[in-house]
């Protein structure tokens, strides 16, 4: 199976900007033990460059979510290393991980996960408040303007549309100027128009604001907004596509499926 790679892995990101935002080496995650042991991630090596918008794609159960959890310091690896910049996050304690998440990582969730009792503004600035840091009003203004939230700042989540809520969540993820933002199926709960809107905002934050975004998705259209798509299957990197179009991503996925057809069922069962 180690040869069933559709597109050869090229280290495009190391060539592009030189600086790496996130790095994984031999990253492995297993659940259970003995007979019931499941390998969700199996020795993954992957790099993500600064200032890029990368999509991680794969069929459900392929291990893409597990990869993101490990890279973001939300879960602990069974083996291997993950780095945020030069910091090795595998092996950090809860306190250090909490600080890391607060100061250097942003999250965008599928279900927005805004606090219902706070206004949009409070939700956006929450990470800074938790850190006891001052709000950079200039940066806040820039974010709000870029995301088109000027008229919505004093509204509560229940008074916002799904697309608006997700834009607030993006602003929240970016407010602390993190090294990297992880987005987990950010369009999963949105209609296609709002989804497209959110995706272009994500792309704008990379292009115009210079942020680094890693997005997990199973939607080829969404993945096409990224600069680069990393394909993952059965817990391993299965290839990648640079400057993807929806058609290219779809073709890549199809190729993955047809090549791995006989084992796809197992992979689905094995996935976390």
């Amino acid at each position: 199976m180690d040869t069933t790679v559709f597109v050869p892995v090229t280290d495009t990101d190391t060539l592009a900007n030189g600086q790496l935002a996130v790095r994984a080496r031999g990253l492995t995650k297993t659940y259970g033990s003995g007979e019931a042991q499941v390998r969700a991630l199996d020795g993954v090596d992957v790099d993500f460059a600064e200032g890029r918008f990368t999509a991680i794609m794969g069929p459900s159960g392929s291990g893409k979510s597990t990869l993101m959890h490990l890279l973001a310091g939300l879960d602990s690896a069974t083996a291997g290393q993950a780095f945020l910049g030069t910091t090795e996050i595998t092996g950090l304690g809860d306190k250090a991980l909490t600080r890391l998440r607060r100061d250097r990582v942003g999250f965008v969730f599928q279900q927005f996960n805004l606090l219902p009792m706070f206004t949009a503004r409070d939700n956006i600035t929450l990470p800074l408040q938790l850190a006891g840091a001052k709000v950079d009003t200039e940066w806040l203004d820039t974010l709000v303007r870029t995301l088109g939230l000027e008229q919505r700042l004093e509204h509560r989540p229940s008074e916002l549309s799904g697309g608006q809520q997700q834009r607030v969540a993006i602003a929240r993820a970016l407010i602390a100027q993190p090294d990297v933002v992880f987005a987990d199926e950010p369009t999963g709960n949105l209609d296609s128009r709002s989804g497209a809107e959110v995706l272009s905002f994500l792309r704008r934050s990379v292009r115009e604001l210079g942020r680094t975004i890693i997005m997990v998705t199973h939607d080829p259209t969404a993945a096409a907004y990224a600069d680069r798509v990393v394909l993952i299957a059965d817990g391993r990197i299965a290839g990648e596509i640079s400057d993807p179009t929806p058609e290219a991503v779809l073709a890549g996925l199809d190729a993955l499926r047809s090549l791995e057809g006989p084992v796809a069922d197992d992979g689905t069962q094995a996935g976390a």
Partner: protein, 871 residues
């Protein structure tokens, strides 16, 4: 459906257990109350039955037609011994000590409830057996003589007869037969009969005769035979009767405690019902949340065909099962508490003989069980209705569980406002009636009604205003940082739940604060009233008079002895001397007229001389001597009126050494005051004789023991003087108030404890609901300590707001109640019982903190990854 209910209960067992504790405590309270009431009745019964010792039957007659021939009863076949029941009042004295004492006659040992611990029972005239503690108090031992005073009836009066019997035995009262009357001495039966006859003027006969049966005698047959001899029946209601001892004892016990134990029962059950109401609030809250959490499951049930009634019934069944289990646990706990209390009482050797074990009647088991179950089911009614409202469609919606909280109804708002307005209005009317109109009866009635109505309004309307107060408090707290802001925002997310939780605490705290305030105000007002009327702690006054009617002065040694007594701060001497008023004469019809304008006898007034400085230092209320200075006479309103004198007038007084003119100052406090300065009196009547001494006690002194010590000093000096200890009365009032307050607060504490369990319950339920949100917060950088802090602040807010508002309300109620009840005693001083109030607040806050510990642990178990999980 039952299986589904049970399965759901298993899943929520932790949450239900926490709510169940509230019901357990509430029902345990009710069960323990019923048990205690039973013990009181039982104790009374036992002590009455004890008087009959081992008698089997008792023969009774009326006062008008007593049994005169007791010996005839003894002759009846099967009767082994008879003894007329009755007691005689005598006075015993030895040295300077004396006691009043009941005495009974010797009897067959089967009919004698008292036992000798030393010596023997008296056999002849001139012998007496005394209760061991009485002999101890009088300093007597077996073989010594005691002075006995009894009464002999004369033609139109009684005269005292003194005897000097020898103490031949010391007595113990193992069954408490005479514990209600302070024990009983024993005199031989013949002497007893003679003395009773002399006291009453003639042999009074017996109204009750205890009968012991011979071994093997048939009780029924002897009962019938006795009834025939006395010409009575076997029915207690008749004029003459013969009944078994238990029947008679039960009858007397019922008549003795009839009102008392019922009052006790109602009193304590009031508090038990408060505890149950609070428990009901906690239960209602729990079920609201359970229903909200299970909305998906309930909707699914509706989808697969369960109808509304079935869903609602499922919730009620769950409540019934929870209620039944918790109530059963409560009954067991109550019985355990009752038994432990008895053991403790036995270990402490209380003077009242108590039964060894609690008497478990069906009421003790059934009443708390039924009430506890009903309260639980009743509390689940609203959540059950909410459950029926869950639409089947909700199962298909991926959104968050629909909240159980609706907007509180307009009807509720109007009703609660109305109740609050009317109630507080009535409360104000009560306070006005009590203070201005001086009508404590109607004042109290209006006050109680107003208090109850307004409190219902406040509690029912809590959902409207309590969250706002919490918001305000939250805003204050929230300024301190993000964690606090999160916490305060959280408490407002579910206003209904926050309101219900805080209200549960509010009820308990309000009542605690009300009782403390009432007690503090009552104590201050009573003390002030006492100080005003009896400004002296202890008054020692001479009671012997010379032939010419002047009091014999108290000796210097006696005064020195009093000053030297422990606990005495200072004394002030008072001299009373009769002085003539040359300007006034008393006419034949008793009126006072100006001398010269009318003819009559010279008028003499008894004037008290005090040293104003010394007297002020000793008095509780020094204002009494405000107007007193050299050259003035302080006249009470009564005397001033009699002599037609007003403030500023002058009055000439003449004594053996001369005369002087005094300016009149009128005293409002004591209508019979006639005070002049000591030196003024001395210049008119020579060195005045000290006939009274004001004694001031130190603040820390135990009034009762100091007064007793002063009494001893007076007795030992041989002087004939009266010791009047107002301080004892004052201390007694304090003790009564303190004891009652302690009991009431102890009872209310149960409600507070239940409410605090409710706070913990609410917090843990919120934490479960907010699992995903906690994970999100953790993911975006909330540290574990911050999460813990957030929940701690939530606990503090819920508990603190409930406690603070409760204290405020309690103060208002306590003050209004005091004004209504105590207004008639004069100015009501509204006191704040700072100590109690601070304690309640501290307990509530600490409990709020503690309540957040377990929920925080649950919340921390949520991994940040859960934030990413799609529902």
């Amino acid at each position: 459906m039952l299986q589904i209910t049970l399965a759901q209960m298993r899943r929520s067992s932790g949450r239900l257990a926490a709510a169940g504790i509230a019901i357990v405590i509430g029902t345990a309270f009710v069960a323990a109350t019923l048990l205690a009431s039973g013990v009181i009745t039982r104790t009374a019964y036992d002590s009455i039955a004890a008087r009959y010792a081992d008698a089997d039957l008792v023969v009774g007659a009326t006062w008008e037609d007593p049994i005169t021939d007791v010996t005839a009863l003894g002759d009846v076949d099967g009767v082994a011994a008879v003894a007329p029941m009755g007691a005689l009042d005598i006075e015993l004295a030895a040295g300077s000590r004396s006691v009043y004492q009941s005495a009974i006659a010797t009897a067959d040992e089967r009919l004698m409830p008292l036992q000798t611990t030393a010596g023997s029972m008296p056999a002849h005239e001139g012998e007496i057996a005394l209760p061991a503690d009485v002999a101890d108090r009088l300093g007597l031992e077996v073989g010594e003589q005691v002075d006995l005073t009894r009464y002999q009836s004369t033609d139109d009066d009684w005269q005292q007869v003194t005897e000097q019997p020898t103490v031949v035995g010391l007595l113990d009262d193992p069954y408490g037969a005479y514990s209600r009357t302070g024990g009983a001495a024993v005199i031989d039966a013949d002497t007893f009969a003679t003395w009773v006859a002399e006291d009453m003027g003639a042999d009074p006969g017996a109204t009750e005769v205890a009968v012991a049966l011979a071994p093997g005698a048939a009780e029924r047959a002897v009962q019938a035979a006795l009834a025939q001899v006395v010409g009575g029946t076997t029915d207690l209601a008749d004029a003459r009767w013969v009944v078994p001892i238990d029947e008679r004892a039960a009858h007397v016990a019922a008549s003795l405690t009839g009102g008392e134990d019922l009052m006790f029962l109602i009193f304590v059950l009031t508090f038990a019902s408060i505890a149950l109401v609070v428990a009901g609030l906690v239960i209602a809250n729990t079920f609201q949340v359970l229903v909200a959490q299970r909305a998906r499951t309930l909707a699914l049930l509706r989808c697969v065909g369960a109808n509304k009634a079935q869903v609602g019934r499922s919730v009620l069944t769950e409540a019934a099962i929870l209620g039944a289990i918790s109530s059963a646990g409560g009954v067991l706990l109550g019985m355990l508490l009752g038994q432990v209390a008895l053991w403790v009482a036995h270990a402490m050797d209380v003077s009242v003989p108590l039964p060894d074990a609690i008497a478990v009647t069906w009421q003790v088991v059934v009443i708390p069980f039924v009430v506890g179950t009903l309260v639980t089911v009743g509390a689940a009614l609203v959540p059950a209705r909410v459950a029926t409202r869950v639409a089947p469609l909700a199962a298909l919606r991926p959104t968050d569980a629909p909240s159980a909280s609706r907007r509180a109804g307009r009807v509720r708002l109007v009703l609660s406002l109305l109740a609050a307005v009317v109630g507080f209005g009535l409360l104000a009317v009560g306070a006005v009636l009590g203070t201005v109109a001086q009508d404590p009866t109607f004042g109290l009635l209006a006050g109680i009604a107003g208090g109850a109505i307004s409190f219902v309004g406040v509690a029912v309307g809590a959902v409207f205003w309590l969250p706002r107060v919490a918001a305000l408090a939250g805003r204050l707290v929230g300024a301190s940082g993000a964690t606090a802001r999160l916490a305060s925002a959280n408490t407002l997310r579910n206003p209904r739940r926050t309101a219900a939780t805080s209200t549960a605490l509010l009820i308990g705290v309000t009542l605690v604060a009300m009782m403390s305030t009432g007690a503090a105000s009552a104590r201050t007002s009573l003390t002030e009233a006492l100080d005003e009327q009896f400004p002296v702690d202890v008054l020692v006054s001479s009671t012997t008079y010379d032939d010419d009617g002047t009091a014999v002065p108290l000796s210097d040694e006696l005064r020195a002895g009093i000053v030297g007594t422990d606990g005495v701060a200072a004394i002030s001497a008072v001299a009373k001397v009769g002085l003539e008023t040359p300007d006034l004469v008393q006419t034949e019809d008793g009126q006072l007229e100006t001398a010269g304008a009318a003819s009559g006898e010279p008028w003499t007034i008894e004037v008290s001389g005090v040293d104003p400085q010394a007297a002020r230092a000793v008095l509780r209320n020094p204002d009494v001597f405000d107007g007193l200075a050299p050259g003035t006479i302080l006249l009470g309103t009564s005397f001033a009126g009699q002599m037609s004198l007003e403030e500023g007038d002058s009055l000439v007084l003449r004594g053996p050494d001369g005369s002087a003119s005094f300016t009149v100052a009128v005293s409002e406090t004591d209508p019979y005051a006639t005070f002049v300065a000591w030196d003024d009196l001395a210049s008119l009547a020579g060195e005045p004789p000290v006939t009274e001494v004001y004694v001031g006690l130190t603040d820390s002194a135990d009034a009762a023991s100091v007064v007793a010590a002063v009494q001893d000093v007076v007795s030992d000096s041989g002087a004939s003087a009266q010791v009047l200890g107002i301080a004892v009365e004052r201390a007694e009032y304090d003790r009564v108030i303190d004891t009652m307050l302690a009991i009431v607060l102890g009872l209310l504490a149960v409600a507070v404890v239940i409410a605090l369990i409710g706070v913990a319950n609410t917090l843990s339920l919120s934490v479960i609901e907010r699992r995903k949100e906690s994970a999100t917060l953790r993911a975006i950088g909330l540290s574990k300590a911050q999460l813990r802090g957030m929940l701690a602040i939530e606990g503090l807010l819920i508990a603190g707001v409930g406690a603070l508002l409760g204290i405020a309300l309690g103060l208002a109620y306590g003050w209004a109640g005091s004004a209504a009840a105590l207004g008639v005693m004069g100015d009501v001083t509204l006191s704040v019982p700072w100590r109690d109030v601070t304690l309640v607040l501290a307990i509530a806050l600490v409990a709020g903190l503690v309540a957040s510990v377990a929920p925080a642990r649950t919340a921390l178990k949520a991994s940040p990854v859960e934030a990413l999980a799609a529902e």
